[in-house]
Symmetry: C2
Subunit: 322 residues, 2 copies
């Protein structure tokens, strides 16, 4: 048995690879087999993480395993879906057992937290990269999409933004910080917990939703285009963590929140009548603006006047784009 | 819009990316949404192809697009599943429009032939590689797996073997040949048509099945292990094409068939009573041996005596394994 064949057996033996609800056949045949309850649809999403582009080549494998599952499952949260399973296509320059063991532990931990099962995959030799395809279920017609925001809806997010982007100097080892500041920021970068329960609670309430991966402004632009509306964001209402402001200063903190990306929190539009119920139930719903007629995303200052953001859009680790 | 964002729009506009049966929501949201007819299960498989490992770096992009779809969909054929859709995770060093246009044409052509739709994906910057995840549907409990071969069953394959492995010197430009010989071999390497209809015809008849990707001997060993049986292969019954024998000679042709891999034809075990019906219906069923009590795969000569194969197993382009 070759070393890569051994890796396949290794993952097949992981606790998260054992049969579970919705998985009729797991790892080990030509295909896995999933079953869906009657009246449900299957939500599917694929994400690739490339070493040197989406994470540092020397990334801690435990943290990388956690992050790979988290950022992929976040797309299920954005649809209001309940996780079923995922496939892992892992390309590695060589089979190093310590690296693999740590990676598998991180993968396992986040898979357990998200209640998602490893159902198949492929392990190949080549430059380090990972492609995860995630599967979830959602009642037919109830998935949250980017299309459907209505003029008058509130624009909301699922919590503080910008921490992951703000953490980049720590991730890259360019800066140090007191653990009380560094740890929460690094945790938001390496193990952003997908907002699965929030997504499910928003079914039948939110009119449009997505998870923020490219930055608040860029992702809100996706909702605006898909829904054919304008989104107005009150800059002063964008939630920023104390840790981020302490580490980066208020101005950089705001830029991280607007344009940094990698938040993996939900952004959604909500008819105002649903707000009190969600907030009373304890959901982390933060109103940052509203939906208006028109197009595009406009940032407003405290007087309701448009602000020109310093820059917007997609900013990955180590790369200007992609 | 960055160049990689443009690529995403490019694929989203492909004919094979438009909505179709079973696809409730295609490219462009956080997830695609699939629906399954009542009583059916979803078959899922992931395959990665890495440049320099699974195909030459300078591979013709049209042929690469065809091959990527074909080898992935072949896993659906092996389960007896009907294709629904696939996701494409494409990692590219740079966005070259001529390369992309040719790749997309090849992808489109094979997707049309297999009646499968592109439902989502990710495009990232990095060393060239592709991960496809394919989805199909199969009546619940009817999928063909590797487990279930019964003592006394016939061992069959879906046609001539070894052409793709035999074509490697042509693929790599190490040898030339007369077009009448070269073209059928190269076609078997670059565009192996998945045996979808055969797989579906075998539902309820074959007791175990898979598609031959690692070589006949190695893949039969997977059936033997999963089913807890021995497989006996009559060497003289292994079907070889005239083109392969002309190009490689009979001895090398047989080795390509036994151990070469990349055939993407089905191998399956079949109770003998089903053979006449399948053959009369015109299915390409070639009997090469039988299932016996015991374990492992044994090759038999014309006197029914065990033969030691020269070598067995997994042999990719340019690499001893993986």
């Amino acid at each position: 048995m070759g070393e890569f064949e051994l890796i396949r057996h290794y993952f097949a033996a992981a606790p998260c690879a054992q049969a579970g609800e919705g998985v009729a056949l797991g790892i080990g045949d030509d295909c896995a087999l999933l079953q869906l309850p009657a009246g449900e649809q299957l939500a599917v999403s694929t994400d690739t993480l490339v070493a040197g582009v989406h994470f540092p080549e020397a990334a801690d494998p435990f943290l990388l395993g956690q992050r790979a599952v988290a950022v992929s499952v976040s797309d299920l949260a954005a649809m209001g879906a309940t996780p079923i399973g995922f496939t892992l296509a892992l390309t590695l320059p060589s089979a190093e057992s310590a690296w693999l063991a740590a990676f598998a532990r991180g993968l396992e931990q986040m898979a357990q937290q998200c209640a998602i099962r490893l159902i198949g995959g492929d392990t190949t030799r080549g430059p380090l990269s990972l492609t995860l395809t995630v599967f979830g279920r959602v009642p037919a017609g109830m998935a949250l999409t980017r299309k459907g925001a209505q003029v008058g809806d509130l624009l909301c997010v699922g919590g503080e933004l910008g921490d992951a982007a703000g953490a980049l100097p720590l991730v890259l080892g360019q800066r140090q910080a007191d653990p009380a500041v560094a740890e929460p920021l690094l945790a938001r970068y390496w193990s952003p917990l997908p907002q699965l329960e929030l997504g499910q609670a928003l079914r039948g309430k939110a009119t449009a939703a997505l998870d923020i991966s490219d930055g608040l402004l860029a992702d809100c632009a996706h909702i605006a285009v898909a829904s054919g509306v304008a989104l107005l964001i009150e800059q002063a209402q964008v939630p920023l963590s104390a840790a981020l402001q302490a580490f980066a200063g208020s101005e950089t903190a705001l830029q991280c929140a607007l344009s940094g990306g990698d938040d993996y929190r939900l952004a959604f539009t909500l008819p105002a009548q649903h707000l009190p119920g969600l907030q009373q139930a304890g959901w982390p719903v933060r109103v940052i603006g509203r939906v208006a007629a028109g197009q595009g995303v406009t940032l407003l200052d405290e007087h309701g006047q448009p602000v020109q953001p310093l820059h917007s859009g997609y900013q990955h680790f180590g790369s200007s784009s992609d």
